[in-house]
Symmetry: C2
Subunit: 152 residues, 2 copies
């Protein structure tokens, strides 16, 4: 079996660029879907991340780490989502400075609705392009990158 040397700069950069461009191509197609007329992509992203939260409540700063927007932007986005009745906000128990956020029933329902369409479109877009095994490999590789980045 051939040995795989430590990757050089060119290899990592080209792999990243390919990944990034693929993400852009998929996102552009997603953004145009009718579901995202109801709720902006970035707002959906907040609901989606909240839906993954084990206890249902997430700290604002923790949530922020999973998003590409700034802390003040998220703070105000949560304001808006709260006014729309999609999320709840409460002061954190252990730290009076912090706040915790969770989905309302309505927010959870909306996330599920949009998520379902989301997944359906993803499948119709992507499924023809790789085999089941290849998707598994892809996921294995990106999971490895993702988990490697978390502890740095």
């Amino acid at each position: 079996m051939a040995e795989s040397s430590s990757p050089d700069v060119r290899t990592t950069a080209e792999a990243w660029e390919s990944l990034f461009r693929t993400q852009v191509a998929v996102m552009r197609r997603m953004q145009q879907l009718p579901e995202f007329k109801k709720l902006a992509m970035r707002e959906y992203d907040v609901l989606f991340n909240l839906s993954l939260c084990p206890g249902g409540w997430s700290r604002l700063n923790e949530l922020n780490e999973a998003l590409l927007i700034s802390q003040p932007s998220l703070s105000r986005m949560v304001d808006r989502l709260e006014k729309k009745g999609l999320v709840l906000r409460r002061t954190a128990q252990n730290d009076q400075r912090g706040i915790e956020i969770s989905l309302t029933d309505e927010g959870r329902a909306l996330q599920k609705n949009i998520g379902r369409e989301h997944v359906k479109h993803l499948h119709s877009m992507l499924a023809p392009l790789l085999t089941e095994d290849e998707f598994g490999q892809l996921r294995g590789l990106t999971d490895k990158l993702h988990s490697g980045l978390k502890n740095d």
Copy 2:
């Protein structure tokens, strides 16, 4: 050799989610780098895409397809980049409605500078996480997705 069936909905969705979350994790780390104090990420992205353009000139709508921002946003971003002396803008030859954009020398130099740092940081972030072969596999898979999406 095992046969790989057509991928199911869950498989494609999970692979996408993993890819997307990895992209977010990398981007968050990139955004904080000092190079992006000079020029916003999105503006760099425009310069980068122009730098790839074979003839040096790119149509606005063509450029827009490689980005996640709206057409009016790009139109005004090009205004700003032009005022900063980083890009040139001219009316397209064959179509008086269209405009073509290219980097100035200064724009090209800035893109190269930022790009160099960009790549260096990418490498230090990612290289320890996969082998050379794995980066090759990753690139192969995302290239396949990307090229499959272009012709739809």
